[in-house]
């Protein structure tokens, strides 16, 4: 997903991927990593308190079937649960990507050559509106996603009988591959081919089960009835939200999901980073989900050192280059751009919040192998030479970016400046953040080069290569492969690796093969990766920072405790 203010992106799980992951585990901090300034092992406080005030970024939707923003997903982890969920533990001290049984009693019985998953619902579960949770609600949730043309419907393309729904989503009425029995409480899902990341698919909000009575349209006034420890009592888009305890949540009814410390959570939403930080510094709010404004970072760091936490999220910021258009169809030009970027300067633009990289995969992945030496050290002269040799000097280039996020705009201005220095004729095309990724994903835009980023949906390289750099997943609209990267040998390698059986999914040789794809992309100068992102969490003096649990991509606000 994208975490930029206005838009997020779905991953497209291409049909034919066949990688089964039973539990992403193994060594320390695989997958989503996080850091805590004080390591929090041992028991966390479960002392309850009446109110928690938070300030939050704005988001796209508050409907689990539609939203694709971190801002919403951070709330959904305690309100809308699916059959399974990713553990709510700190990534540093535990396995935060471990799949745990949620509404289901187990993480699924997998049979039929990893093509059939069977779940049994826990007994006696109810939604916040009092309705009992039924097995058929799961099917209704998926059908509802199709009816609303949710950005998540791409995840379901491997389910048997999904064809009619994919062809005509608004008219989707049934999915033959999902069989449920309300009396026995069982849900059986049949896939066409094995799929490694299917358990993860069942852990993301698009499959969080909502009542069958939920209308088949964007429901946020109020949002749909919840099945987690909290429910969203009210949501005022871009203004505010309120979470209250779910009256029908029995204590510890799902092991591993916290019962929640605050009774009520009041959220103020704003995109004004300076204001958000100031509200928290003044104590009016207790937690700032927004990133701290980079220009005031030194001030906040020196004044509130113990109240700020920095996180490395599995994310990469990069420039895409469209290989179907001049001049980026030429390898020398793409290499030149890589030589022309001084990654340190781009880190400076973000106030220092970033770690330079020239790999595509983020460093926390076991499949990551740092490409040494740096294949494209900053060298303007070399870049100019390459442009000259390519014969593309003087080509007009439009650099696209998000205009209303100042640091994204500055980043693109920097790129434009460098492209001009090496002999291209670059102009800037800033667009509103709300439309940006949709427009980039439309081939008709003919965007040559532009700003983009990627935050993992789940910790496996299929979420990166097969989604973003795969020739088999190039689409005319809603394309994720902005560069239209298609290297036949690598396409084949990606598909093969995705089709490995689970026992080999994380073996050293598999990891090495993924790293080889990473290197091949760098050799092809397919993109210009420049940094891995750092996010911040800012707490007021009221909260005990030691309680903070950063699981996979976000703080779990249900576990916040007061001093």
């Amino acid at each position: 997903m994208k975490r930029v203010r206005s838009v997020a992106i779905a991953t497209v799980v291409a049909a034919g991927l066949a990688l089964v992951v039973s539990a992403c585990g193994g060594g320390s901090s695989s997958g989503g990593s996080s850091t805590t300034s004080s390591s929090s092992t041992g028991t966390l406080s479960t002392a309850t308190y009446p109110t928690l005030n938070v300030v939050w970024g704005t988001t796209d939707y508050m409907d689990p079937g539609l939203s694709y923003r971190l801002e919403s997903w951070q709330l959904f982890q305690d309100t809308y649960l699916g059959l399974v969920y990713k553990a709510h533990v700190s990534c540093l001290t535990g396995n935060c990507t471990k799949i745990m049984p949620g509404l289901a009693t187990t993480i699924g019985t997998v049979t039929n050559g990893a093509k059939t998953y069977k779940f049994t619902l826990r007994k006696g579960l109810k939604y916040s509106n009092g309705e009992p949770i039924k097995a058929s609600d799961f099917t209704h949730t998926i059908i509802r996603d199709f009816n609303m043309q949710s950005p998540g419907i791409g995840f379901f393309s491997n389910i048997v009988g999904i064809g009619a729904c994919e062809a005509n989503p608004t008219k989707c009425k049934s999915i033959s591959g999902i069989v449920t029995d309300d009396k026995a409480g069982t849900i059986t899902i049949n896939l066409n081919t094995p799929e490694s990341d299917f358990e993860y698919v069942l852990s993301i909000p698009f499959t969080s089960v909502v009542p069958g009575s939920t209308p088949n349209k964007d429901t946020e006034n109020p949002p749909p009835a919840a099945n987690g420890p909290y429910y969203i009592a009210s949501y005022n888009p871009s203004k505010s939200f309120v979470l209250k305890r779910n009256p029908n949540w029995t204590k510890d009814e799902i092991p591993g999901i916290p019962n929640g410390n605050p009774d009520v959570i009041h959220g103020t939403m704003t995109d004004d980073l300076a204001r958000a930080a100031q509200l928290t510094a003044s104590g009016q709010d207790e937690y700032d989900e927004d990133v701290l404004p980079t220009d005031q970072l030194p001030h906040y760091k020196s004044k509130y050192p113990s109240q700020i936490k920095f996180w490395t999220n599995p994310s990469t910021y990069y420039f895409f280059m469209n290989q179907r258009l001049k001049p980026f169809n030429n390898l020398k030009v793409r290499q030149a751009v890589n030589y022309a970027i001084n990654r340190q300067q781009l880190v400076n633009l973000r106030g220092g919040l970033g770690i330079q990289t020239w790999n595509f995969l983020p460093p926390v992945y076991p499949q990551y192998k740092k490409i040494t030496p740096n294949p494209y050290p900053y060298n303007l002269t070399k870049a100019k030479q390459l442009i000259q040799q390519s014969g593309m000097a003087g080509t007009a280039v439009k650099v696209y970016t998000i205009g209303d996020v100042s640091v994204d705009l500055s980043t693109a201005e920097y790129l434009q400046g460098q492209l001009n220095k090496i002999g291209l004729k670059a102009t800037l095309k800033p667009l509103a953040g709300a439309n940006y990724f949709t427009i980039m994903g439309n081939q008709q835009t003919k965007a040559q080069i532009g700003f983009t980023d990627w935050f993992e949906d789940f910790p496996y390289p299929t979420d990166w290569f097969n989604t973003l750099l795969n020739g088999a997943t190039i689409h005319p609209v809603h394309n994720n492969n902005y560069g239209n990267v298609s290297i036949p040998a690598q396409n084949k390698a990606m598909a093969q690796l995705a089709a490995l059986p689970p026992s080999q999914a994380l073996s050293p040789s598999t990891n090495a093969k993924w790293a080889a794809i990473d290197k091949a992309m760098s050799d092809d100068a397919a993109t210009v990766p420049y940094l891995n992102g750092i996010l911040t969490s800012f707490f007021s003096t009221k909260l005990d920072v030691a309680c903070d649990v950063f699981d996979d991509n976000q703080d779990d606000i249900a576990q916040f405790c007061q001093k």
């Binding site: 791409g154 203004k239 100031q278």
Partner: protein, 322 residues
Amino acid sequence: MGAFIVRRLFGMILVLVAVSLIVYFIFIVIPGGNPAIRIAGRTATQANIRSIEVTLGLNHHGFFGFLWQWWDMMKALFTGSLVSYYDGTNVVQQIKEGIPVTFSLAIGAGIIWMGFGIIVGTISAIKAGQVSDRVITALALIGISLPVAWLGLLFRYFLAGEKGWPAIFPDGGYVPLTTNPAQWFYHMILPWFTLAILFIGFYGRVLRSNILDTINEDFVRTAKAKGLTSGRILRKHVLRASLIPIVTLFGLDFAAVLGGGAIITEVVYSLPGVGFYAARSISQQDLPPLMGVTLFGAMFIVVFTLIVDIAYAYLDPRIRLS
């Protein structure tokens, strides 16, 4: 008189219709994607986009198609069912929620600029030609020369803690009157003055010149001859006569502020009013809220202009016949 009003009303409705057509036309010109694509999300297929287009009525083409879409949008607006392209929220609802904020800003600023404007104008008129008059004139001129955005940032920088000095006022944001009147007032002070300063200068000068003109009128000379004191003349005769044009000016300016003049102030101080909503919608190229906000603003301006016109026609029969 009645015919005059009817004619003006008719003209007013025509103007509003034309305004809405123009807004719609302007945004058809905006490229950068079919709104249907934006709503469909990232994994939607071509078929999905088409079905959304039908739902939104965007599948009509050509000149009559354009009119048809516009009519659909107008209908939705007036029945309160118009929703944003971007986040599906109800436009009329969002405007309603922004109204208290914008009204708080406009009314508070209006009271300040009228109050100070009258004081400033009267003093500089009484002391016409003297140093204090010159000083006030200079300050007034400075007031109308300041860009609102810069003034707002200056206040925030020096008075609201941006410089690192202790904050005397909060750095933007809005607290509803019903939640906490004291905080509401405290948060509004800087925005009020930011908006009012340029008007104070202008109104002061207009009032000053009106008073000076009026003082030369016959009826004032008569009053003086009758033996009335200057103070009494000023209060009972001159001020009243000079204020009439001011009040009408105020009506028009107030309408302009409600109609979008507050947008920069709201953006600088993050006040979630109608102007802020408009600014956000514009950067998102979101047509329905823009249509709603523009018509809302145009309506105020047109209605106030109409009231002013009627008032003048009532006072000056010549205008009725024009």
